[in-house]
Structures are given as C-alpha cells and as structure tokens.
C-alpha cells in the first residue's frame, strides 16, 4: 500500500490517550467556570443600595432609532416594592404654602404667557444651531460650579472627567461645540452636574422647607442658599461691568428655556393639582440628584 504514513498499530489509542488529558482539563475548566458563576439570590432586606453614578450600562449610541436593546442582568431582590398601603409621607415640608401658591400662580402666568411666546419668537429668528451653541456655551461657562461642587462632595473622578471635558471643549469646540459629550471617559463615571444645593444635601442638610422663587420656580431653603453659593463659582459674577454680566447671564438662561418650558407644560397638563405635582416632583428629583 503506497501510504506515506506508517501504520502503527495502536495509533488510535495513542491519539486518544494524548487527547484524553486535554479533554479532562477542558471539562474541569468548564465545570469550575460554571461553578464560579455568581448566583444572585440575596433575600435579605434591602441593603443601602446606591444608585449607579454612571449610566454606562445603557451606552448604546450605535443603535438605530427606536431600537430596543437588551442588557441582560441578574435579578436583585428587595422588599421595598410596597403596595403603598401606608399613609403618604410628606416628602417636603411646606409651611409657606399660601405664599408659595401665590408665586406659583405668578410664575405660571409668566412662563405660559410671557416666556413661552417670547421664546417662540426667538426660535423663529434664530437657527437651532445657534441656540444649541449658546446652550453649550452656557454649560461650558458653568464648569467651575460643577467642578468645585464635585470636589466639595469628594467626587474626584467626576471632577476629573468634568475637567477633561472642559479642556477638550475649550480647545476643540471653543466652548460652543460639546465635542467631549459622547466620548468614552477613562474612569467609568458620567457626571450629571452638581450644584451647591446638592453639595449641602450630600453633607446631610435637609431641604428646610419648600420655597417657590419668583421667575426661577421651585426651590427650597437649602437650594436657595445653594443658589447664592453658586453665584461665587459663576464666572459671570466676576465680569465687569455688572450690566454686561447680568445681561449675558439672563440671556444665556433664557436660551435654555427650550428644555424647561416643555417639561413644565407636560407636568402641568398631566396634573390635577399642578402646584402639588410640581412640589413633589421637585423634592423627588432633587433627592435623586443628591444620591447619584
């Protein structure tokens, strides 16, 4: 038989013998791999679970519009999914309700019958690229507030990310283009914007009581103090003359109404008592901002 290979008796069993240790090893790896898989069956009462400080799990910029993506994850267990049988706990004290209701009504008229028409007119005379640029510039100018408050809350990673984004946006986007927005960061955090009110909350201060500010809307004693504190990290505060500083601050704030007005309108449309709906939403939203 002109075979190049020599037929050695017992080659099959030799090959088998050579493969066997590999197969056993593989089986072992498989077995340990499967066993090493963590099992999530925590049935103890809810531990103090913190919200993730970043939303990186949901990072999915490449998906087509309307796509439903699935990030599989294991089920956690918690006993906090109540039936809301207990009497409602008041989330924020409101001893100044008559006063607050007055300013709420005042602001309502101001937002819907002054700010909204003026903003619509502003939208017709300016291209959206310009408005987007100005809102980026405002966010860019508010960098010191976010940076300082991240430091004050000992969130050094977030402060670092804010700083990096500020540098990139200054030199690449001149402050009007937010080039760093969708860039992956070195540390897995996605800073959500901090202010002094949140810092005070982080330090353990409660709201005090609910306070509706003229023109500015819902706030509280704590967050009102926070706003005053934020003045010192606002670069406009140091601009001279003050007329120029005030005018640019007002205009940049006005420019960002495109996100605030629709939010207010949809909240008001859905609410049976818009005052209480706004108050509760504000308290819950700020609580979340402080935690994350």
């Amino acid at each position: 038989m002109p075979s190049k290979r020599k037929v050695v008796p017992g080659a099959a069993s030799a090959a088998l013998r050579r493969m066997l240790p590999c197969a056993v090893l593989l089986l072992l790896i498989v077995a340990t791999g499967v066993q090493a898989k963590p099992t999530y069956t925590r049935l103890s009462p809810e531990p103090a679970r913190q919200q993730p400080s970043s939303l990186y799990d949901a990072e999915s910029p490449a998906l087509p519009a309307g796509a439903v993506s699935v990030t599989p994850s294991d089920t956690e267990f918690s006993d906090s999914l109540d039936d809301y049988d207990e009497a409602p706990t008041v989330t924020i004290a409101d001893p100044l309700e008559p006063w607050n209701r007055f300013w709420f009504a005042f602001n309502d008229v101001f937002y819907l019958y002054v700010a909204d028409p003026v903003y619509s007119f502003y939208e017709t005379i300016t291209p959206h690229q310009f408005r987007r640029g100005m809102s980026n510039l405002y966010k860019h100018a508010m960098f010191p507030t976010r940076f300082v408050n991240n430091i004050l809350q000992f969130r050094f990673k977030e402060a670092g990310v804010e700083f990096g984004r500020f540098i990139i946006n200054t030199f690449v986007g001149f402050g009007v283009v937010d080039v760093a927005k969708h860039k992956k960061t070195l540390v897995p955090v996605d800073p959500s914007g901090e202010d002094f009110g949140q810092t005070l909350g982080r330090w353990g201060l409660g709201h005090g009581c609910y306070l509706v500010l003229p023109f500015l809307g819902p706030s509280s004693i704590r967050d009102g103090v926070g706003r005053i504190g934020d003045c010192f990290t606002d670069p406009m505060f140091y601009v001279y003359p003050w007329e120029l500083a005030t005018a640019s601050e007002l205009w940049l704030r006005f420019n960002t109404l495109d996100t605030l007005l629709p939010t207010y309108k949809s909240l008001k449309d859905a609410a049976v008592d818009p005052y209480i709906a706004t108050r509760e939403a504000y308290a819950a939203y700020r609580k979340q901002q402080v935690i994350r």
Partner: protein, 216 residues
C-alpha cells in the same frame, strides 16, 4: 489504515466535542433568559413603538385608528385599576363601588391621554433594559430602563409590575425616580382632605377632558 482512520476520527470527534463544550460554556455563562415580567414589558413597548413608527400613524386620516390600537396596547400592560387604588390611598375603601368605577375610568382617561400625547412627540427614542429588582415572593418586580432621548439625554424610567391573574401588569411608573402614583397620591390626598370623593372624581374628569382637548 483502518486504525489511523479510527484514530483521526476519534481525535476529531474529541476536538469537536471540546468545541461543543466550549460553546456550551459560553452559552451557559451568559445570563439566563429574561424574566417573564421583562418579557411582557418588552413585547408591549416594542409593539407600541412599532405602532408609532408605522407610516399609518403619520397619516392624519388613519391616525385615530392607530391611536386606538396604542390605547389597547397600553391598557394591556398598564393596570389602571391598580393605579387608581394606589393613588386614592387609604380612602379607596370609603368610595362606593360606583365612585370607585367612575374614579378609575376618569383616571385611566387622564393617564391614557397624557401618555398618548407624549407618544406623539416621539423622536427616535431608544429603550435599554438595565436591570430588575424583585420582592422575595417574586410577585412584584421593578423593571429598570434607560430611555435615550433624541438629543442624547438619558432618562431613567422604571416600571413596577405585579403578577395579576397570571399576567404581569404595571402598577406604577417612575421617571427620574419620581413615582407617578406617589405624585398623584399626594395631590389626591390634598383634595380628599378638603372634599368628598365626588369632588375628586369631578376634578379628575375635568382634567381628563382638558387634556383630551389639548391633545387634539
């Protein structure tokens, strides 16, 4: 020759077995299939998104029919009676059966109209399912999602679901951790502390009518 062949076949068999095992390991390391609650939610959300993306929705002539379809889908996943019971709070038991029915209907109308008017502004939002929390008995589940808006802003939206008559239904929605039920509950508590259930029902009905008028 025969034995070589057998040997090679045996080794290739072993190799393919090993490869198969590898595949199986990879598959088994991946988390188990989605829970029934998430499955239900995902199917509903996908069906609603499909309805909105349907060209028939953009056409004003066929839009009302599409809206009806969306309303049907929403009623399938949201249990408005559970919403109503929770928003009325402890006072629910003092409502007469007729009042309970009228309140549930009015509140369902209000929620549906607001939901559909939100859906109208659909602008390429994406939904990512990020996790779930269940209670010990596994009869309540919170499904967490992140909605990415058209402008890239991310909004956490959580759906609280319960097993009712063998199906998973939503009884609360949390947007930015603001519970819809708790928000309405505080509003209704205030109205109920000053007035009778009928007054609350009248106000909810009036609001639903107003929202419907605004949506048109």
């Amino acid at each position: 020759m025969l034995s070589t062949c057998t040997g090679r076949r045996a080794s290739s068999l072993l190799l393919s077995l090993a490869a198969l095992l590898c595949c199986l390991t990879v598959l088994s390391v991946r988390p188990a299939a989605a829970s029934p609650a998430r499955d239900t939610l995902e199917r509903s959300v996908t069906a609603i998104l499909d309805c909105i993306k349907d060209p028939a929705y953009a056409d004003t002539a066929t839009r009302p029919a599409q809206r009806e379809k969306i309303a049907g889908l929403v009623r399938q996943i949201f249990d408005f009676q559970e919403f109503a019971i929770r928003t009325a709070g402890p006072r629910w038991k003092t409502f007469t059966p007729d009042q309970q029915k009228r309140f549930t209907d009015a509140f369902a109308d209000l929620l549906l109209t607001t939901y559909i008017s939100k859906v109208d502004g659909y602008n390429g939002e994406q939904v990512a399912y990020t996790g779930e929390v269940a209670n010990k008995e596994q009869t309540r589940v919170e499904e967490r999602t992140i909605v990415t808006l058209g402008d890239g802003k991310k909004v956490p939206v959580a759906y609280r679901m319960m097993l009712k008559n063998g199906a998973w239904r939503c009884y609360d929605v949390l947007i930015e951790n603001v519970s819809l039920v708790k928000n309405y509950r505080t509003q209704f508590q205030d109205i109920l502390s000053n007035g009778a259930p009928d007054e609350l029902i009248a106000r909810v009905q009036a609001k639903a009518k107003e929202a419907a008028a605004n949506a048109k």
